[in-house]
Amino acid sequence: MTTSMTDNAREVSPPATGSRTTFWLGVVSLVGVVALILLSFFVAPEDDDQHDAVRMIFIHVPMAMLTYVAFSLTAIGSVLWLWKRSVWWDTVAHGAAEVGVMFCGLTLFTGSIWGRPTWGTYWDWGDVRLVTTMILFLIMVGYLAVRSLDGDTATLATRAAVIGIIGAVNMPIVNRSVTWWASRRTLHQKSSLTDGKLEGLTLFTMMFGLVVFSIVMVWMLIHRFRISWLERQVSEGDLSEALIARRAEAAVVSSEGGSK
């Protein structure tokens, strides 16, 4: 499998981040999303209390779960970058943060859209998960802001990694404080559907959604990883070109103008 893919890639060598693996992951993702839409809207039954509003769960909950998976990857990657100087993990941390921020934003968005018909409000300051997720979202936006600064790649990686760790380490205390803070509010979240009431097709569709969006996320992470890797190649390439130019300027004959 690997060799045939290699040969194929050498022949065609498309200037893109796709490969046979990502192509099939993409196909599965697309089919999965279509199937998820059909399942969510036409197969899964409506809820006794929420009626059809319950169909938001099939996109909201998978995204929320994957947000936390992505940010955990960022935290792990940050530690491994600082500890082992692993460029691979640093790249994973960066990609996961970007994908995670997107999923996190969508989690908050679908959550408030869902909250309006079920809780009667878009935003409830009394809900712990809502507020905690919002703070996490803001911290990770800061992570991406640091990543987008200009400067030496390794320096930025270190700085971002420290934020990744600060964010992860502070999460329990954020959660604790929001829990206490929210507990005095009378307006409280109606029992979430996850307290064992979920069953049958509803549960199946939600798990199916989780699988589908996991595949989507893997597809995104692979592409995002390769983009970072290409960016590194480009900046190194520019550097070596600049070196060659300098050397030519100085009229020094040099046969090796390689990278690094």
Partner: protein
């Protein structure tokens, strides 16, 4: 380590005292914010009573941004950072020293601010011990998280805009905890302020530990 920390703190505070920025700009700024909140809430007494502790801590957060900004600037100018490292000062000690200096400045501003809320917002202090303990613990927490994040954006061109984006979400638990503890200390809302103080102690401890461990990584990098 603690001797070094004391030296660094003394150095930063001496610089601040000589430049007189805290006295001539930061304190007036804090007072100004209090007055503006008064205007914004239209001197509505019940609202102001309920909001006093929140306004106090929001003001402190704004001031902390300025303090951290300045504290970081001391080290980035003239390669002072490198000089400190070459002098063999442990990074952890540099962190503790700088955080102490920031905390000392913030505490000075808070004393003025407490005077401000008593005079302008007519607040009554019902539990002075809780008030003082909250100020001290929360301020050390703000100063340590702030100093670490300040080092993180040191030398970056856009640091004035990036620092608030990083600091404010991380400090959100302090705002929650310190505001609730103040509600209790000022008697405006019936909550158990002491349990909030415990949460603040947790936040502060975590962030001091993070700072001591991670500050060196950031110092070496630039």
């Amino acid at each position: 380590m603690f001797t070094d920390a004391r030296l660094v703190a003394a150095k930063d505070l001496r610089i601040e005292l000589r430049s007189r920025v805290t006295a001539s700009q930061v304190v007036p700024f804090a007072g100004l914010v209090l007055v503006l909140f008064g205007f914004a809430l239209d001197a509505n007494k019940p609202t102001l009573d309920l909001a006093t502790s929140g306004l106090f801590w929001v003001t402190v957060l704004f001031v902390s941004l300025m303090a951290v900004q300045r504290s970081t600037a001391i080290e980035t100018t003239d390669g002072a950072r490198r000089a400190l490292l070459l002098a063999g000062v442990e990074p952890g000690a540099v962190f503790l020293g700088k955080a102490t200096a920031v905390a000392a400045q913030l505490l000075a501003v808070e004393v003025v601010l407490i005077g401000g809320i008593v005079v302008l917002y007519n607040a009554t202090i019902e539990e002075p011990a809780l008030l003082i303990a909250t100020c001290v613990v929360a301020t050390i927490g703000i100063a340590s998280a702030g100093t670490l994040l300040g080092a993180l954006v040191a030398g970056v061109r856009a640091r004035e805009t990036v620092l608030p984006i990083l600091m404010l979400p991380v400090l959100a638990p302090v705002l929650l905890g310190a505001t609730r503890a103040f509600d209790d200390a000022l008697g405006s809302v019936a909550v158990n302020g002491w349990s909030w103080l415990a949460m603040l102690i947790g936040f502060t401890a975590i962030n001091i530990a993070l700072g001591v461990l991670a500050y060196g990584v950031l110092l070496e990098e630039t």
